[in-house]
């Protein structure tokens, strides 16, 4: 179904036939294969179904591919969709295209990642920086001042990766000023996380915790611990995202805290806002989809909320 639509967007783009998609909403996702993004995409699909509009979903060829995202964006504008929900792979890269669409009267809703350098109808996301500060503060309570920890970063060339790192380090350093933070840099690749954490854990026996910028990193860090023969709880893991596998690992004693973004809500609210804007209704320019602090004591409630069995 998705493939069919993708092909038809391409075909329509080639023909430049115009307003093929009148009455539908365009949704440009950042990834169709990342487990977190699949939850966002599900929320988007459900919102469209509820509102009874057709959702044209397209994704980039690979995560982080700006040029293909710009291409599908321009195709959707040319086809005359009523509104566009977009998760930009590059905050400023998409700005000119977003400006063109807004000038043409097509509402644009940014989902998960904001657009810098262009005004959008609405920005629907968790405030990564604020949530990362909560993550850092909670992580600090799990260890003593002076204990060394590892922080697995996300891509530092993207605002999401920068905000999560800065928020975590700021809050953690405030609470535990004498703790050393060793960083493992990644580009959102769990294998990089695993290898880096393994290298450091192997050379230093004084690491008490591994905090992660996303749950792919959490699972990579868990694999690194298993590779070194460590048991659940020997080193505390702190995650970000609330992904299903990390929550399962929490139930087994590996993960001690996880700040979950309401991923499903992000897609759902984003497309709801896009539909509302296309019907000429007022939409708040900033919709915060909030977060959920998952700890072993709240994991049951979280699982009920997002439907993990």
């Amino acid at each position: 179904m998705k493939l069919k639509k993708m092909l038809s967007v391409m075909a329509a783009g080639a023909l430049m036939s115009g307003s093929v998609y009148a009455g539908s909403i365009g949704y440009i996702t950042k990834s169709a294969t990342n487990s977190g993004w699949m939850m966002i995409n599900q929320g988007a699909a459900d919102a469209a179904e509820e509102a009874g509009v057709d959702l044209v979903t397209v994704g980039p060829a690979f995560q982080g591919d700006l040029s293909s995202q710009l291409e599908v964006f321009e195709n959707l504008v040319a086809q005359g969709v009523d509104a566009i929900g977009i998760a930009p792979v590059d905050s400023s890269g998409v700005a000119p295209a977003v400006n063109d669409a807004m000038d043409a009267g097509i509402p644009v809703v940014a989902i998960d990642t904001g657009v810098s350098g262009a005004a959008v109808t609405s920005f629907v996301a968790t405030d990564n920086y604020a949530v990362a500060k909560v993550q850092g503060a909670v992580a600090a309570t799990l260890i003593n001042d002076g204990d060394a920890i590892i922080y697995v970063t996300g891509n530092q060339a993207q605002s999401t990766g920068q905000e999560r790192r800065n928020g975590f380090i700021e809050a953690f350093k405030t609470a535990r000023p004498n703790s050393e933070i060793l960083e493992v840099p990644t580009e959102w690749d769990s294998n990089q996380a695993q290898e880096g954490v393994e290298a450091i854990l192997n050379s230093r026996s004084d690491i008490k915790m591994v905090a992660n910028a996303w749950d792919g990193g959490t699972m990579g860090a868990k694999a690194a611990m298993e590779n070194l023969g460590l048991e659940a709880g020997d080193i505390k893991l702190v995650g970000f995202d609330g992904a299903t596998d990390a929550i399962e690992a929490m139930d087994k004693g590996w993960v001690h805290a996880d700040t979950a973004q309401m991923l499903y809500q992000m897609g759902y609210q984003g497309i709801k806002a896009a539909v509302a804007a296309s019907q000429g209704k007022d939409v708040s320019p900033r919709i915060d989809t909030g977060f959920f602090l998952v700890t072993p004591s709240t994991s049951g409630a979280y699982k009920d909320l997002v439907g993990i069995k």
């Binding site: 699949m38 060793l182 290898e195 290298a199």
Partner: protein, 509 residues
């Protein structure tokens, strides 16, 4: 034995060492390993468990690169290995988790799929005459798509323990557990005690990944150097038409290389699953580039016919060693990218110089190595200095633009700083610029030496390197000193190159 004949022996050994294709990679590994050991505190690098960790984490990409070597030796290329690895990893995990296959059947199916993919590539390339670049570029896309489609791009649950046999399984773990439980007696008890005592400093990382990796390369090296397949591969790579006229079934043997390469990717997938948290279809992205880089760093020519398996082994180790070392040294992310690229350039540069057999070029390359070492030393004061200077400059520009009454966008005003931040950055700049400038002078000196190749200049610069190193230690930047000392050794060694060449020539004559 006189000292003269001892010297002759040493020169002879050096010459035969540099005749080897892999000498550049090994030299780079040694220089880098020493540099990393010296700049990391607590000396974690040359620890057996760390070295074994590097081997463990090299295993999956290493096996992939091993198969790639055969393809490149025939002057072919396989861009699909990363996607094939991802496909096999995802599907194998899927068979186990969702189809209820027993693990061994799933692994066999995965390896068989690898062979099938290789047969498809090989047939298109060898029998239909399609360019390898195009066929495998298509494969890169097709197999990745197939992996996502067949598994819904979803991760599997944790895989059964059988997969650990390809990865994190430690052959000594059971012995240690039995010893701890007190179930051993006699000789086994002594062994158990020994293993237990040296667990943290040796046996902990003695794992299957590493063992399979090394065994695979030994087998592959034996096949390539002693069997008909290997000889034919070199023949096809040097002169395909000639080989065909000599009666070699070049098409069949070309097909074989692609089958081995794809099966290497499949085995790489199993090794990867043995250490990974779950199976997923996005594994192995960009691995084709890492594998090709490892092969080329190991001294194998992209034009075919020249190269070794052992060289690829070294190439893989070099790549993983850089990652491991830069993580332990806690260098800033973006600098890591720059340093990684520079090291690859130097390693391949060493190989090109090695082939040239000219004293002047060898000297020039050593000059460049000294230059790069000084450049790395520059990073310590330089990275903080440069980023502070850039922030200050941005701040000042924004102040000027604001004063000119320009309308600033949000991400422009974000560059404005408050007074304490400005003062802090200025302190960083003023605290670091002298050491940065003096290190930059060393870089310029190395440029002069590499250009003029003057013996006296090289020796003076070597002395200046040492003096700067001592000065910096007294200023509290001890981490930089080892790089400079190493640079001084390289510069001093450079002056002996013409003499060594002379001696080597008389030996041969």
């Amino acid at each position: 034995m006189t000292s003269r004949s001892l010297q002759n022996k040493a020169v002879g050994l050096a010459v035969s060492y540099f005749r080897k294709e892999w000498s550049g990679a090994l030299l780079a590994i040694l220089i880098l390993a020493i540099a990393i050991e010296l700049v990391t505190d607590g000396k974690p690098f040359f620890h057996p468990t760390n070295l074994m960790t590097i081997l463990n984490n090299s295993a999956a990409i290493g096996v992939v690169a091993g198969g790639m070597t055969l393809v490149i030796l025939t002057a072919g290329i396989d861009l699909s290995v990363g996607s094939v690895m991802g496909l096999i990893a995802a599907v194998t995990g899927y068979f186990v988790s969702y189809w209820g296959f027993p693990p061994w059947l799933a692994i066999m199916s995965g390896l068989a799929m690898g062979a099938l993919v290789g047969i498809i590539h090989g047939t298109l390339i060898a029998y239909l005459g399609m360019p390898a670049f195009i066929v495998t570029l298509a494969g890169l896309s097709v197999w990745r798509g197939a992996a996502h489609l067949s598994t819904g791009a979803r991760a599997t649950p944790e895989l059964p323990d059988t997969f650990n046999l390809f990865g994190r399984y430690n052959p000594f773990a059971e012995l240690r557990a039995d010893y701890k439980a007190g179930e051993l007696s006699g000789f086994m008890e002594t062994m158990g005690a020994f293993v237990n005592e040296h667990w943290m400093d040796f046996f902990r990382t003695f794992q299957m990944s590493m063992i399979i990796f090394i065994v695979f390369f030994i087998l592959l090296a034996v096949v390539v150097s002693n069997m008909r397949l290997g000889r034919y591969i070199y023949a096809i790579g040097s002169n395909e038409q000639g080989s065909r006229q000599a009666g070699i079934n070049t098409r069949l043997y070309t097909l074989y290389t692609y089958v081995i390469c794809s099966m290497g990717a499949a085995l790489g997938a199993m090794l990867f699953l043995g250490r990974a948290p779950y199976a997923k279809s996005d594994y192995g992205q960009m691995w084709e580039l890492d594998a090709i880089a490892a092969v080329v760093i190991g001294g194998t020519s992209l034009f075919g016919g020249r190269g070794t398996i052992i060289g690829t082994f070294m190439g893989v180790i070099l790549l993983k060693l850089i990652n491991n070392g830069l993580t332990l040294a806690q260098l800033e992310t973006f600098w890591q990218m720059v340093v990684l690229g520079l090291i690859i350039l130097v390693a391949v540069g060493l190989d090109i110089v090695r082939q040239s057999k000219s004293a002047v070029k060898v000297q020039r390359m050593l000059g460049v190595v000294a230059l790069v070492l000084a450049l790395f030393a520059c990073l310590t004061p330089g990275s903080a200095l440069i980023s502070s200077a850039i922030s200050l400059h941005e701040h000042n520009s924004m102040v000027v633009m604001q004063a000119a009454g320009l309308d600033l966008a949000a991400n422009q005003t974000a560059r404005l700083l408050d007074a304490p931040a400005v003062a802090e950055l200025q302190a960083i700049v003023s605290g670091n610029w002298q050491s940065f400038a003096s290190l930059l002078l060393l870089v310029l000196g190395a440029v002069a030496v590499a250009v003029t190749l003057k013996r006296s200049l090289a020796l003076i610069l070597a002395a200046v390197y040492v003096a700067t190193a001592l000065l910096l230690v007294s200023m509290g930047m001890a981490a930089v000193a080892p790089l400079l000392i190493l640079g001084a050794v390289v510069l001093a060694g450079m002056t002996t190159v013409p003499y060594m060449f002379e001696r080597a020539r008389t030996l041969e004559g």
